[in-house]
Symmetry: C3
Subunit: 179 residues, 3 copies
Amino acid sequence: MENQELAKTVQELQDRVDKLEAKNSRLTMVLFSGDFDKVMAAFIIANGALAMGKEVTLFVTFWGLDALKKPTMGTAGKNILEKMVTIMRPKGPAKLPTSKMNFGGIGPKLFHYMMGKKNVEPLSSLIELAQEFGIRIVACQMSMDVMGIKSEDLIDGVEFGGVALMLGESYASNTTLFV
Amino acid sequence: MENQELAKTVQELQDRVDKLEAKNSRLTMVLFSGDFDKVMAAFIIANGALAMGKEVTLFVTFWGLDALKKPTMGTAGKNILEKMVTIMRPKGPAKLPTSKMNFGGIGPKLFHYMMGKKNVEPLSSLIELAQEFGIRIVACQMSMDVMGIKSEDLIDGVEFGGVALMLGESYASNTTLFV
Amino acid sequence: MENQELAKTVQELQDRVDKLEAKNSRLTMVLFSGDFDKVMAAFIIANGALAMGKEVTLFVTFWGLDALKKPTMGTAGKNILEKMVTIMRPKGPAKLPTSKMNFGGIGPKLFHYMMGKKNVEPLSSLIELAQEFGIRIVACQMSMDVMGIKSEDLIDGVEFGGVALMLGESYASNTTLFV
């Protein structure tokens, strides 16, 4: 191989390695769960990664969408089953149940209290903080369709997309967590 | 370093980078859960990845095996505890409970209805589709042994293997999800 | 480009590719769940990876900490809510509930019996084995603070750290699972 040709090959290799290394600066999470403790874990990890300078994409699907709902979300323009799901599911971070020790909703309040005493930010602040730090939150369009959730039912600053977008982000990231 | 020697080193580097990049064409998932909604999520992700041309390995373990059971699975040749587990666990995609809002089995029916109205394929079709697209489904041999599940109890086209196979697939994939 | 300069560039590339390939020898898991079956899955995967010669870091947080508690863990020096959480949560692998078929604690006993008949090690042995094989277990400092868990409440050989440590391990690993 000629020296010049070799130099070109090395340049191409550098570009490919750059691309592989770029994954080290990105984190993708699929937030499937709507349990207070798991949503909390997802946003603590997200904020930790953002503080380390990483780009974070949170793809929110199924029950995870409960965490993004506005407390004022209503049932107007929804069919009977969508209305039922809207009424029965918690709306927003303050209403999420814990996966263990929920005690009819007292559990999350106790945890908020215990977290506050140890200076852990409440979930609503962690979400706001992540958004200020530039997290990319993508709500799963298909889950929204099935459950009759409209874009205006969710907090501001949320994008909408599907599994292809999530996979694209995952393949640009070193780490992808399913929470 | 001589030019010829350098060319050989660059060639070796190319092979190594090829191998690292090959991970971008593979996805591995561990399906631990047997909840309808999580199995649904796993197969939606699997079909999305297959449609993007990726090779997908689904390692199915613990409760996830419920999703692969034939509805006709019987208790012949099983000991008393294995019979009990066989009778008590759901058999096949049509019988899986949802992790939330199950309502004694009405929940999954409502979700199937709501998904049908939005043209989302039912779970059994998603599994068939994934198999047609060439998904590799591996049932965890150890879980099968412990719960007394025989190979003929599971749908056709399933392979059998252990944690070493799953880890091997994971290390050949950019993304591994534990669902 | 001069031959000598090119050789230097190739050397740098080799170092970068070495680093990317080094991820193939490491596994990171976040153990969030304290369910017997999920903790079992985490340690089976961990021991499988250790047997394959990989370095394994298990970051244990939230309910997962139940699996690391000494059965003798007491309530001395804890405030009233910490005492309540201490009393109500299971302490150690022998007390963990299963996520399905728990039947008030009979489920895990049945599974231990069924696993024993198939020569699967009990969970406490899997944890010991992993520690002998050199697993790195890191207990989440923030979760411990919030729930009032002290370092002496957990089994020996456990380190303490936060989300930054976990993410650092994850970015040095090809595979990270959230269990």
